[in-house]
Symmetry: D2
Subunit: 461 residues, 4 copies
């Protein structure tokens, strides 16, 4: 997955972008980049492996700072394609001048697009599908930046939120299905775009509205222009953004993530109660809101039974060997005084492979819990995502391979309850219609990509 | 402050120590170090500025790994003395062989000890008071390692938990007042010591007991020996460890930190209710338990209104200028949907200077809160700490200079309530007696150090 | 300038390439890169700013090692375009599979090539003219790799030595003028190409022959194929390679650089004697051979009067301010005992701006030299190079702006003698015909590039 | 070995020291350090593993810059003790204030000094014998800084040049034998000390005189005071400094190193002629002067047959395996055109283990040399050095174990000639008396140290 951020009209656009990316770090920790125009209008890009904070702008500060237009990107990606070549923004020079592009999402016809472009003589210097969009923009003969983007996006299928610099224009675009979120804000007159509203908050911008599915917005010295040049389709906002991916302090898809998770938790309590349980706790921090909702609805007290180490991710520490569950202990610890002798409800937002969950259950039992009732605030994940989330192949998804009872046994819980698909969709703001739930339901809004394992072309994120 | 960890009898003592330090990172982020015996019994030390995880053991791995005895240290310290010379463990060679020492605490007669040693010809290669203890051990003629430590500690005043390697013996010592916590554990027969029990958990060790105030424990091939060679004094365990410093998943001073904070929060609700408030929230994560206790006792619902960025501290990002409250925004964000139009109770564990609190209150109001009722789960901090916590001088402590009303106005809240001294002491496990509360009450168990500003000699942490 | 190296048929091609690049470091210190096929035939590229040795292959070792085909590049370039984007090899994927390319030289119709490609929809992700060649190869429909290269090079003007990986074929190409050197060697059956023969020596390869001007050589599993698909032109080998650029232990253009410099020095002695001088010394190390030749021919004794610091270039040390000549002192020191009271001949290979020379003369005088007779083993440089050497603009070239007497006065010598153009050309192996001497004579073999300041498109080097 | 530098009375003493150390880099590449007084007179030290240039002063610049007094140190040392703890200068605080010390040399009674100090209760935080001197200064009750140093040095045996900061006084001291060089200079009124005069040159200081064996010089605000408080002994200047260690542009022991090497080469030609040889060449760069002297005296032409890679030492490149002589090829390359078919004289300054020489001879033969006559401009090394040079144990010294014929066969030469002991001593300035030649002659001026393998305590230089 990725996070994107852009601003036009601020006297230090690159610095604002760096700050914005910092609050989108949870959307991608592998690489970070900023492309900005300098005071003379020349484009520059800086990219680094690792976190935004690790000195992204330090060296090139002088180069990037002072310009009024910048876009940025944080990227997570599968191991194979983990190189600087695949960091974004992509910056290219073409007939029509420079093009810089940051992409969140994944194209489903990337193979075809690439093939077509290669046949026309194009070369690719990364394995990202995003590069195909840059080529298409470069080849467009349309007159305005937004028209070039619109033309380029005809025939592009799948998920994308794009921030594009063409000349001195900033263009934002969201695919007709609207899989990924994109919000628009105002920072003392400067126009800001971001994957999530928490990035508006950190820079002190005011939330204005969402960029709509199928919308292309252009911002230049004249002001803001909007158009809907793409075929209208029913929206398929990713329900998993509400379930797990977005930050709880964000507003996406026109609703609050925290409120979504609270509702998911309450619905979970209704669908899968745990009568007789002494307490409810979350796997911090992504399921805090859901666990609170569960506790509230079930009338069971909410406890802080697991502590998440504040330094997670800054470390490559390997636990001492020979100890199956030590990996989980590096990230979490249980509070014995809370758990000892109790029958407990452990709430998590989702279960992917099940290995972390199994380790956590073992930890909770070792801390004295008498009974462990696992409750999951989403439906079972039974298929991969083709729209930008890096879920593993079906073979690794525990719920794609085992029955409820088998999963419960495998992870070592007394009882296990997942939220129903309907319950999940009914709980998120503006649901139940208009959401993608393919990885839960198998109901994919597109045919699978030609090259679903992404091994050849990778993903745009 | 500092965290200390030691293990004797494990086949990869240095690796275990690194893992243990990782969970004591909250006690000191400035530098980290490990001293260990290699397989041949030779001592080596590695020290780095920065976090445990940033490659502490990587380079010297070959050197340190494989030995059975290691101690480690994480250090926080005031800016002035922030150099590698002041990182611990101290490793020295003396008449009696090598001595390695890791210290948590602060000596109150450091100036005098140092003067005395310098008069006797000693040289100091750091500004840490801990170095004086090493000199004194080196000068002791006592026969056993523990007797040398005991002799060295006669006349040493103030706060210390020590882990010391002398030859192949690991000695643990805690001052007679017992200001700082020190626990003892068992890892498949290896003896482990740590500042907090969370470090036992991460390495998979079992909690055995606390090292007692005034106790000196020696561990060698023969086994474990305990003695109480120091003058007995009434204990003065630091209440602030329960209030803020220790991790909630730790057991210190014979009680659970989480339980302590829950009780503090409940007592706070009793002493300073907030009738009519719609919800309670914490300043994450240190006041989560207290806020939950408050909510429980007050019967007001608990909410997650502030989100703490997961990447805090990994960054040196500076917010864009000209914006008073932007510093707080880099670390926290408010959830508008939770706060809008509500009368809220904001619980924090303590207020030191008040600047962060003021920024948070402004953020909470900007997110729409109608009324803000600040509740603090400790008494007002009115004086500095001489026993190992880096609180600022009296001039910077807001509660030392302003009245309750003035503080409320300064931080911008509608009402402000602190827990009473008695309420605080009654809430912590094994309280109200036996605790230090000097920074809250002015009741210092020792005369102030000769050189209280620590500028000349620094602190042993 | 740049150095290039490639090998096909060796079991650890990337490691061999790294070693080869290490001996081509003098041709470019700004960035270094290697592109290699892995054991599965997949291409990967690693690039770094800085020297070859600074860990180029360390991280990605696992990725690159073990494959049989690799090419590499060391790059020096002007400040403006000093970014990783401009490091080589370029690696791209196209209709016909992957293309990796390393280029030494500079195209003179880069602007036109780029314009044409952009008009056809191409995008450029660097400012290097080399990228245009990759595009042209990608667009070629020819059947064999070498035919694609040959087709791509039609219409490409200026200087290039190229090493190109297409599929599993390694193609080497040299422009019809042959400005830059390219040699071919044999390493136990593996075919090796390198800018200079010193790179064959370091890897233990045997020199086979030069790649000829206008030649395209293809190496695949079938063996080696050669062709001359480009229009034949009179050769214009860069005389400055012999004068300064190549390493003295190299064989280039079919002759020894050391022998060339010795002959240049001898001819210089004949043309510009220094009767009455006590000794001859070189500005180490590039003019060592020439100075020795001068001494030999003139019958004056050769001395080591200047010492070049071995750690030059590893440092960014700035001399203390306020001292005009201190910059030179960081790199060189004079030997007073050699110079004191003597009339000396100082031999250097060339004078560009004259600032270093002025500093050296001052240093030599300060060490007691009575008379300083400067002798330069090349003709005066009066114009820029458009063929791959980073000489400055005419305005900065001292010999383009001052008369001989003025230069002598400016640099502070008693007498100054340059080698004549004819003397220079007659001294180099296979001369006087067939060499470029444009920067000395103004006789440019091509029209100047449209964009001679290279500001827009940079150079392929 | 080590290099030391100090300055008092310059407005940016630390920057001057860094520059001076840069030209003493050949004396030690393992670690570098500077201790300086800040503008307020407070001492600070910075130390780093690696080269001077790699950012020594960058971070702490603000701390160190601006003060008038600084000393510095470059250190080479045996692998075992390669840690930052052993980097110098040592900075300590004692009864009498701060003491900073930089040491070049090696004490021969380090074990005894250390034992005595440990018995008196001292602790050691490094394995350097230099630390013992700091302790002894700290314990001295003498009144002036120089008297404290003089008192401390009574009973200290072996080799030392010391630069010591005590309060605001800079003290320089050289042992009575004068094994290591130490020069004194003047930089616009500031007093400068350095191991070699090349460090005076780089900072622009004027050579004043050598610090004499047994002399203690003190510099403070009052001026310069000199004394000879140590027992007078016959001088034993290290002849190997002239042979190999010092830089040829330095003046040490009152004579020019270049002139010494020239004379050594000429004498070698007289003692071991090579009738019939076609040419003479050096193993660059340390034997350049000697080879030139040989050529001159023998009337054989001097050639540049070996080229030394300019980037040596900046690299950790490992040649591809399976190839015995590839290690030598990373550092040197032969010039075939010079060597082919010729009978050659190869001059080197010394042979230690013989492995590099064997590789070079093989390289020279592979380049076509018909006959190889090895000539060494020093006597055979048959024993270790106890006075500060890191020669290996006797077992590894080729000349301690093999006869002349055996060595010739082992390294693969046609003939081999070493300079005689007498010839060597007669050639160096101020010789033949007053020099140490123990490693050549076995005539050690002191008993061997108690702990000659230095394994326990390491060496002070
Ligand atoms: N401070 C927070 N409180 C609650 N949830 C959070 C917080 N920060 C991040 N999250 C949620 O947790 C998810 C994962 O965050 P991340 O920092 O990567 O932690 P983890 O290591 O648990 O995956 C985010 O996508 C977001 O939904
Ligand atoms: N995961 C956690 N949950 C709750 N409290 C925590 C957690 N981690 C640390 N703490 C508490 O917060 C205090 C400060 O932790 P730290 O990581 O330094 O965060 P902060 O930036 O808030 O100071 C710790 O001393 C501990 O009491
Ligand atoms: N060891 C050597 N001996 C003689 N000449 C050399 C040597 N190494 C490099 N050169 C020559 O000197 C030129 C410049 O080399 P470089 O290492 O960049 O040094 P400089 O700093 O003097 O420019 C090279 O292009 C080559 O011709
Ligand atoms: N530029 C130079 N010319 C001649 N001799 C030098 C030069 N620089 C250093 N030396 C001599 O060579 C010795 C070794 O120098 P160093 O740079 O360590 O090279 P090496 O790798 O050959 O050991 C020095 O002690 C000095 O005597
Ligand atoms: S498949 Fe799942 S993760 Fe992917 S977009 Fe649809 S709901 Fe979201
Ligand atoms: S003064 Fe305060 S912080 Fe210090 S030990 Fe006492 S209670 Fe703890
Ligand atoms: S212009 Fe000069 S430097 Fe350039 S190729 Fe011609 S001779 Fe060489
Ligand atoms: S033993 Fe050899 S190297 Fe050591 S000081 Fe004496 S002459 Fe020099
Ligand atoms: Mg989670
Ligand atoms: Mg807090
Ligand atoms: Mg030169
Ligand atoms: Mg040598």
């Amino acid at each position: 997955m990725c996070g994107i951020f852009g601003v036009r009209g601020h006297p230090d656009a690159a610095a604002v972008t760096q700050l914005g990316l910092y609050s989108l770090q949870h959307r991608g920790q592998e690489s970070a980049g900023i492309a900005a125009l300098d005071v003379a209008g020349q484009p520059h890009a800086v990219k680094r492996m690792g976190l935004v904070s690790e000195g992204l702008l330090e060296d090139e500060a002088e180069l990037l700072r002072g310009g009024a237009l910048a876009i940025g990107h944080t990227r997570y990606s599968t191991a194979g394609s983990s190189t600087l070549e695949n960091a974004q923004p992509v910056l290219a020079r073409s007939r029509g001048g420079h093009i810089a592009l940051a992409h969140n999402g994944n194209l489903t016809n990337a193979t075809e697009l690439r093939f077509e472009l290669e046949e026309a003589g194009a070369i690719f210097q990364s394995t990202m599908d995003s590069e195909a969009i840059v080529h298409r923009i470069a080849r467009s003969n349309a007159r305005t930046p937004e028209a070039r983007v619109a033309e380029a996006l005809q025939g592009v299928e799948g998920a994308y939120c794009l921030l594009i610099v063409i000349g001195e224009t900033l263009v934002a675009a969201r695919d007709p299905r609207g899989w990924r979120p994109l919000v628009m804000g105002d920072l003392n007159g400067a126009v800001v775009f971001a994957s999530e509203s928490c990035a508006l908050d950190i820079v002190g911008a005011r939330y204005v509205r969402d960029v709509e599915p199928g919308e292309v917005v252009a911002v230049d010295a004249e002001g803001v222009r909007s158009a809907f040049p793409l075929p209208r389709l029913e929206s398929r906002k990713c329900v998993f953004e509400h379930v797990y991916f977005a930050r709880p302090d964000s507003r996406i898809f026109g609703g609050s993530v925290d409120r979504a998770r609270r509702a998911l938790g309450r619905q979970l309590a209704r669908e899968c109660p745990a009568p007789g349980a002494d307490l409810v706790f979350s796997v911090p921090d992504s399921s805090n809101s859901a666990a609170l909702g569960y506790a509230e609805e079930a009338g069971i007290s909410y406890e802080l039974a697991l502590i998440r180490n504040h330094y997670v991710g800054r470390t490559f520490i390997q636990p001492s060997q020979g100890d199956r569950d030590s990996k989980v202990r590096v990230k979490y610890n249980a509070v014995r005084e809370v758990l000892e002798g109790r029958s407990v409800v452990m709430v998590d937002d989702s279960i992917v492979r099940g290995t972390t969950t199994r380790g956590l259950v073992a930890m909770v039992r070792a801390a004295g819990a008498r009974e462990v009732h696992m409750r999951v605030s989403s439906a079972p994940i039974t298929g991969p995502c083709y729209y930008g989330i890096d879920t593993p192949n079906r073979e690794e998804l525990i719920a794609a391979n085992l029955s409820l009872e088998e999963i419960a046994r495998e992870i070592g819980v007394d009882t296990l309850g997942y939220l129903s698909l309907d319950g999940m969709l009914a709980s998120v703001p503006t649901g139940p219609e208009g959401f993608c739930h393919a990885c839960f339901s198998g109901d994919y809004p597109t045919p699978p990509p030609t090259d679903p394992d992404k091994l050849r072309f990778g993903c745009g994120c």
